[in-house]
Structures are given as structure tokens and as C-alpha cells.
């Protein structure tokens, strides 16, 4: 677990977000924020990932996919719920098509999953980076 804190490879899962949080996540990768200096790297396969960055309030269509992606991720892994929708469904609280939030869906697969929350609509890149680092510090 010690080396996991030094090298976090993240996989980005959009479960029905409005794309705003996703743009902020991509912002973190730009030279201005450069998260590679903290050992964080975006990877293309959940099998390589140590952390899932989940955005969106989980639509009925996306829920089985999110469960499957979580099962495909080698453990130990951390789930980050990025944005208000992922944390508690945000403005979609009463939406008929939203079965989330993220922690509920993940806990159906694994009740002991490690889940961290970064609220905001959307959270700033600074907020995402500080949220990730705070979560890693208490791990």
C-alpha cells in the first residue's frame, strides 16, 4: 500500500455526467497542473488502474457497466466520486433515470470498497488534486 500512494494510475469512468466534471479531470493532466509529478497517470484499461475516477449520478444504463468495471479493476483500488452528481446525485436527486449515487452501486459489488468524495459542480482541478492527495494521506 505504501507504493500505491506514490504511484496512482487512474481510469476515468463517466456514468452519465454532463461532461463538465470530465473536462475538469482532463484539466488536471495539462502542463499547468501536471499531476504526473505526483505519480498520477491516466491509463486506458481498468486492469492497469489503481483508482477509478467516477463522474455522474449513475444512470440505469450505466449501473451494470460501473459494477463490471469495478470488478475488472485489480484490488487494492480506490474509487473517487468526482462532482456533486457522483457524491449524492446532485440536481438529479428526483430523476427517474438515476439509480446512483456511485457509492451505493459500488457497495453492491464490494461492501468494503474504499470510496472518496470530491464534491463541487464541477470541482476545480485544484479541488480534485487536493481531494485525491487527502484521500491518499488517510489511507
Amino acid at each position: 500500500m505504501w507504493s500505491l500512494k506514490k504511484s496512482v494510475w487512474v481510469f476515468h469512468v463517466n456514468t452519465g455526467a454532463c461532461n463538465n466534471c470530465d473536462i475538469e479531470i482532463v484539466d488536471c493532466l495539462t502542463p499547468k497542473f501536471d499531476i504526473e509529478r505526483l505519480g498520477i497517470k491516466l491509463v486506458g484499461s481498468p486492469r492497469h488502474a489503481d483508482a477509478l475516477l467516477v463522474t455522474g449520478g449513475v444512470t440505469a444504463q450505466a449501473a451494470p457497466r460501473l459494477r463490471e468495471v469495478y470488478r475488472q479493476t485489480p484490488k487494492p483500488c480506490i474509487v473517487f466520486a468526482i462532482g456533486a452528481c457522483a457524491c449524492d446525485k446532485g440536481i438529479f436527486t428526483t430523476g427517474y433515470h438515476m439509480v446512483g449515487p456511485v457509492d451505493k452501486i459500488i457497495k453492491e459489488v464490494d461492501p468494503n470498497a474504499i470510496i472518496a468524495y470530491v464534491p463541487g459542480c464541477p470541482p476545480k482541478p485544484e479541488a480534485i488534486i487536493s481531494g485525491v492527495l487527502k484521500a491518499l494521506a488517510v489511507l
Binding site: S3, K6, D34, R47, H48, D50, Q72
Partner: protein, 314 residues
């Protein structure tokens, strides 16, 4: 110290396994740091590749249900073994060229194909559609760059007067002639393709295939692939230095000169990686077979003319 113990120490520690792995991880840090500097970023800390490998070794290994289990698990080890053998051979040529048989250029050509073959085997055993596309691209890529690479070595063999022993080739520097320079430039691009770096990274293709060949690998098996790539980062530039640039530390040259040549080749590879976009697989095949093929045919003719007329610069 007894002789067998000494040989074992050489294979496992100094010019062999431990030393090459450490150097390879430092080289992969150099790749990431220089890429970061080119993009005006800060880049990862020195020990980042070590943390990555340590972390991967501590993670769970997932094997896909439909995968051919034995091949899937054995392929990374085959690739690692091949590239380790190559690097140990090259270190022996650099440090003690006079001792016993240390292999010729033909053995090296075969050993250099082994990592690509292992990758093709492993990823096609993983039963993943992404990996299948990556495998097909890797196979085409291997077929396209092997021909120019072998032709470049034919130029070297002609220039050095029919030598195929690496220790004998390492005493001359064919890069200091017109045909040798052409052969060096083409084989630099072939090394780029062998390392799977941009512009020839279509088999990995992070943006469209996820990570192509490596798609289904996780945990320790992925760590072995990463180690293999890191060692290739040592072995392939070192091979170019040995074949084209007059060896690592031979002919009374100081060690710093050899390290300088290695770093020069490595930085050239990194700069090509950072200044070019990815090409399609058909463009890569056309590039290697038509353009590189013609350039090397010209180089072979030049080298033969130079040999028969006694002009060493040609």
C-alpha cells in the same frame, strides 16, 4: 572467488540482471522527464518507475476467463528472458570483449525479435478484442521493420570487411561514413518501432485501443512487461552504439565517452517520440518497405563501391 560463483555474480548482479534493471528504470525515468520538459511540465520524480513496479508487484493478478492461461502467464517471462540475454551479451562485449564466445550479430537479431514475439503471443492469448487489434498491428509492424533493420546490419557487415562477431564490429565505427550514416538513421527508426514509441506506437495506441497489447495484463504480469520495456530501453540503444558507433568503452576510450554515446542515442529516440504524431499501420509499412528499403539499397551499393575502390568515407 571461484570461477562459477564469479560468472553467476556477473549474470545476476553486475553487468546482468540487477544492474540492467536499475539502469533501465532510470532510463525510463529519463524518457518521462525529458518528455515532460519538452511539454513545459515538471515531470515525475527520479524514483517514480521504481514505485510503479513495486506497486504493480503488490496488486492482484486478473486472468480473463476465456484466456489461454499458460501462454498468457508465460509470455511476459519469455520476453523478459530474451531481452535480458541480449543486454547481458552486450555488457560482456562492452567490458570484456576478449573472453570466450559472446555472440555475433545474427544471435542479437534473433534475440531482439523475441520481446515482440512474446508480446504477440501473450496478447493474442488474452481473448480481448482490443488486444487482438493491437496484435495484428504489432505483427505487421514487426514484418515491416525487420527487413530494413537486417539490411542496415548488412551495410555494417560490408563496411567492417565481412565481420559478424559483435566484438570485432565494436572496434570500428561505420557511422563515420555516408552509407553507415544512412544505415544508422534507418535503424534508429527501427529501434523506435521496436520500443513501441510514437510515431510507431499503433500497437499500444492509448487513445483508440486503450493500451492494445497490454490491455488484459494486470499486477505482477504487467510489472514484468514494464521491466521488459525498461531493459529494452538499455539494450537497444546500447546495441546501436556497439554496432554503429565503435562500441561502449573499447579501444582505450574512457567510460564517459561510451556513456555519452548511449545518452545521445537515447535522447534522439526521446526527441523523435515527442515531436511526431502517430502514423497509421499502412503508412508505417510503406515508410519502412519503400522509403527505408530504397535508402538502404542505396547504402548497400555505396558501401560495396567504397569497399572495392578503397574509399572508407563512402
Amino acid at each position: 572467488m571461484t570461477e562459477p560463483l564469479n560468472i553467476l555474480l556477473q549474470i545476476l548482479v553486475f553487468p546482468g540482471f540487477v544492474f540492467t534493471v536499475a539502469l533501465g528504470l532510470v532510463a525510463s525515468w529519463v524518457v518521462r522527464k525529458v518528455s515532460a520538459l519538452v511539454q513545459w511540465r515538471v515531470g515525475p520524480p527520479l524514483f517514480q518507475p521504481f514505485y510503479d513496479i513495486l506497486k504493480l508487484l503488490g496488486k492482484e493478478t486478473l486472468v480473463p476467463q476465456q484466456a489461454q492461461r499458460t501462454v498468457f502467464m508465460a509470455a511476459p517471462l519469455v520476453g523478459l528472458a530474451g531481452v535480458l540475454l541480449l543486454s547481458t551479451m552486450l555488457w560482456r562485449i562492452a567490458f570484456q570483449p576478449a573472453e570466450l564466445f559472446v555472440g555475433d550479430i545474427i544471435v542479437a537479431i534473433y534475440l531482439m525479435v523475441l520481446p515482440s514475439l512474446a508480446l504477440i503471443l501473450g496478447s493474442s492469448a488474452s481473448a480481448s478484442p482490443h488486444a487482438a487489434v493491437g496484435t495484428s498491428r504489432e505483427m505487421k509492424l514487426v514484418m515491416s521493420y525487420e527487413l530494413p533493420l537486417v539490411m542496415a546490419f548488412i551495410v555494417v557487415i560490408i563496411k567492417t570487411g565481412g565481420q559478424i562477431s559483435l566484438a570485432a564490429i565494436a572496434e570500428q565505427a561505420p557511422v563515420l561514413s555516408v552509407s553507415g550514416m544512412l544505415a544508422f538513421l534507418v535503424s534508429l527508426l527501427c529501434v523506435q518501432a521496436k520500443l513501441g514509441f510514437v510515431p510507431f506506437d499503433m500497437a499500444e495506441a492509448e487513445t483508440e485501443l486503450g493500451s492494445g497489447l497490454y490491455m488484459e495484463y494486470s499486477g505482477p504480469l504487467l510489472a514484468i512487461w514494464k521491466l521488459m520495456q525498461a531493459i529494452m530501453l538499455v539494450a537497444l540503444p546500447l546495441f546501436l552504439v556497439t554496432v554503429f558507433m565503435g562500441g561502449f568503452g573499447s579501444a582505450g576510450m574512457p567510460l564517459a565517452w561510451g556513456i555519452g554515446k548511449y545518452v545521445l542515442v537515447l535522447v534522439l529516440v526521446i526527441l523523435i517520440k515527442n515531436t511526431h504524431p502517430r502514423v497509421r499501420i499502412d503508412q508505417a509499412m510503406k515508410f519502412f518497405w519503400v522509403y527505408c528499403g530504397i535508402a538502404l539499397a542505396a547504402a548497400v551499393v555505396l558501401a560495396m563501391i567504397g569497399n572495392s575502390c578503397g574509399w572508407t568515407w563512402l
